[in-house]
């Protein structure tokens, strides 16, 4: 062995992380110790019910914690084990139904909630073992499809469970109603006080959240967590380095399943009933979106993703908020796409100028063409009303504008140079028009479209998610 100091040293490589770090917008978050971040999050969440009595706000906090738990559980199999599990929501539903069976008038069982959670933890793990079995032979897309079938089996069973070998187990499409509220050994937690959401549920969810987060963190920083990540990187190599990969895969499934099932029980304890359609594929995709946005493999990322996505989706129910988000996104996209930057100002100014002319012309032809803005509209719409012509009854103009907008967007990807800037002006104007007449009036469709846009934007700039680990595949 030669002992020369220069051999085997590469100063740039040694400093690579430091160099990357300096260029990272969110590098700061990495330097805060994990327990401090968790504490800050817990304190912030715990303070919300103290600050506000608003039942809606507190119920959103509760639901956000439910999604945090779901994302954390999904992260075990997908983020650490590298096993694409599309049957995940079945575990969530299983937990909810088990709570409904063990804690309602259905069978006259009224078990105390902590006991239900323990039962669900164990049964969920067993179910996880079962659903995880195909992972011995299948990986990637193949495993995804088979686990998706496991989910489909769950839906079939609960939908037809009103006559399961002659027994009415799940109530079929009508589900199970009149569930007991969460209770701790006889101390009941009513779902609402005089019609207002009982904010104590936030604390119940928070306790479960801290327990799950802590347990998963500890298991991740042990030989089992290391083995999970090793099998994600290279299953065969992990097996040949002495790790029982078949067992470890089942363990990853079981952990995720237990977390999801307990979350399901908690979720059910607050609801009037459980129904098959609650556990939809949309829910699965939403949880995946949270995990991917936050960063696959990162616990903090999973929580952040859940908070961002859920709060985002809730906030977008409000037309004014979604208006702000839309126009901000347009301006950010322009800043990202146009060089030099001052061109953004020119294009926006030209759009507004174009708008005033169009507005004046439209108003001169027919008063009603510019009288569409509702009197109680938010600040954004009022600011736009002076230059975007919003007709009182858009009617046929809506689909035409929509199609023309898409055509303009397509054309703008082909043309170059000054024409592109020129084309941007009517495109932006039309985009504002389409937003105000077509998209803003339908927040339930639009909020998912905006979430999609957010995901696409983040995936382009940070494919590994906000807090995910940067993954490199060099063979």
């Amino acid at each position: 062995m030669s002992e020369g100091p220069a051999i085997g040293r590469d100063e740039w490589v040694a400093r690579a992380d430091e160099i990357i770090e300096r260029h990272r917008l969110l590098g700061l978050a990495d330097r805060v110790p994990g327990w401090a971040r968790l504490l800050a999050f817990v304190v912030a969440v715990a303070a919300i019910p103290l600050i506000t009595d608003d039942g809606y706000v507190n119920s959103v906090v509760f639901d956000t914690l439910v999604f945090c738990l779901l994302a954390l559980g999904l992260n075990v199999a997908v983020g650490w084990g590298g096993l694409l599990d599309l049957g995940y929501i079945a575990f969530f539903g299983f937990g909810a139904y088990t709570y409904a069976i063990l804690s309602s008038d259905k069978f006259g069982l009224h078990l105390t909630s902590p006991l239900v959670l323990v039962i669900v933890l164990v049964l969920g793990a067993l179910l996880g073992f079962l659903v995880g079995l195909p992972s011995w032979r299948l990986v990637g897309d193949y495993l995804a499809i088979v686990t998706l079938f496991a989910y489909q089996i769950f839906i079939s069973v609960v939908t037809n469970g009103h006559d399961l070998f002659g027994v009415d187990l799940t109530g079929g499409v009508n589900g199970i109603s009149n569930l007991d509220p969460f209770d701790v050994f006889g101390f009941e937690l009513p779902v609402s006080h005089r019609g207002i959401f009982n904010s104590n549920y936030v604390y119940v969810a928070l306790v479960l959240f801290v327990a799950v987060f802590g347990a998963l963190h500890l298991i991740n920083h042990s030989r089992i967590g290391r083995a999970w990540r090793a099998l994600r990187e290279d299953t065969l190599a992990a097996e040949l380095m002495g790790m029982p990969t078949d067992w470890l895969k089942l363990l990853a499934f079981a952990f995720g399943a237990s977390v999801a099932a307990m979350t399901g029980s908690l979720f059910a304890s607050l609801k009037i009933g459980v129904f098959p359609e609650t556990f939809s594929l949309t829910l699965l995709i939403t949880v995946y979106a949270m995990l991917i946005l936050g960063g696959v493999g990162s616990q903090t990322g999973a929580v952040l993703g859940a908070v961002v996505v859920y709060v985002f989706l809730e906030a977008l129910r409000n037309a004014d908020v979604s208006g702000w988000v839309f126009y901000l996104a347009v301006v950010l996209a322009l800043l990202y796409l146009l060089r030099p930057r001052w061109m953004v100002g020119v294009v926006l100014a030209a759009t507004v100028a174009f708008g005033f002319v169009a507005h004046a012309v439209a108003g001169a032809i027919d008063e009603s063409w510019t009288a569409g803005a509702p009197p109680d509209a938010g600040a954004v719409t009022r600011a736009l009303d002076v230059w975007v012509a919003i007709p009182a009854s858009p009617g046929d103009a809506k689909p035409v504008a929509y199609v023309v907008l898409i055509a303009l967007l397509l054309v703008s990807t082909v043309v170059t140079g000054v024409w592109r800037y020129a084309l941007l002006v009517p495109t932006l104007y039309l985009a504002a028009f389409v937003w105000e007449t077509v998209l803003a009036p339908q927040p339930d469709v639009t909020r998912f479209a905006l979430l999609g846009a957010l995901l696409v934007g983040i995936m382009i700039t940070r494919p590994w998610g906000i807090l995910g680990e940067r993954r490199v595949e060099i063979v």
Binding site: I7, A16, R223, E233, L240
Partner: protein, 264 residues
């Protein structure tokens, strides 16, 4: 060296459908020996390693390790019994740190289970500390190349030669008795190749490992081998000291063709 070989293959055959990769191979490796396996591409060398480590189950014959059959055992059990390997095409855990790569390989001889890990019992903490120290010790085997600032770097940031070294460090972290090295000098420059030659000898001296190595570089084979086994088309065509095997007409024919033998 005891009379019972550490590893013994008795008439091992492997066929994939109609393709016979190995045919009735007998091979033994004594304790403390360094045995090289040579042969042209496609001779069945890597298949031999895959059979010993349990990736494939032989279609015929038996494999004994320390006198007991390991045929049909899952690979991780075989590794836990004391056989570790490196890969010809590197198979590191690329997105894990250098230290974690080695720590992960200690799984087989450590015990902390799910509950002890989540409760952080004193025994678990002690074990975790031992794994860490073991990893750092194994990495220190390669001088200053894989220590210090390298510990926390992801494996993908390593150079090719360092990746090969990390593979060896990872294999030794399973605490093996027998080490299978699959072309440890492939893709290395002459200086690094010379270093690998010294390193393999040092592995036996300091680590006490018995070593079975596949190698194409004849300088390496000459430098390290107690015994050389030549394979061609899944059949053993020669065995003995390096000189005996290197001058064997069948070996020359396998490598260079029949006319080359006529000229000698």
């Amino acid at each position: 060296m005891s009379d019972r070989p550490l590893l013994e293959l008795r008439g091992v055959s492997m066929a994939f459908g109609g393709l016979r990769c190995l045919d009735g191979l007998d091979l033994h490796v004594g304790e403390g020996e360094i045995v090289s396996v040579i042969g042209p591409n496609g001779a069945g060398k890597t298949t031999l390693f895959n059979l010993i480590t349990g990736v494939y189950e032989p279609t015929g014959g038996d494999i004994l390790f320390e006198g007991r059959s390991i045929k049909g055992l899952p690979p991780h059990r075989i590794t836990q019994l004391g056989i570790a390997r490196t890969f010809q095409t590197l198979r590191l855990f690329l997105n894990m740190s250098v230290r974690e790569n080695v720590m992960a390989a200690a799984y087989g001889h450590t015990k902390a289970g799910v509950f002890r890990s989540m409760l952080r019992t004193p025994g678990m903490r002690r074990e975790e500390k031992e794994i860490r120290e073991l990893a750092e010790k194994r990495l220190a085997f390669f001088g200053d190349r894989l220590v210090g600032y390298r510990w926390d770097q992801p494996a993908y940031s390593l150079s090719y030669a360092n990746r090969r070294r990390l593979e060896i460090a990872r294999a030794t972290a399973t605490n093996p008795k027998l080490l299978l090295l699959d072309e440890p000098a492939a893709g290395m420059n002459p200086v690094e190749t010379r270093e690998i030659t010294e390193l393999i000898a040092k592995l036996r001296e300091e680590g006490g490992y018995t070593i079975l190595v596949i190698e194409h570089d004849m300088h390496v084979v000459e430098g390290i081998s107690d015994r050389v086994v030549a394979l061609d088309h899944g059949v053993k065509i020669a065995e003995g000291s390096f000189e005996e095997v290197a001058t064997d007409p069948r070996v020359i024919e396998a490598y260079l063709g029949a006319r080359a033998v006529e000229r000698t």
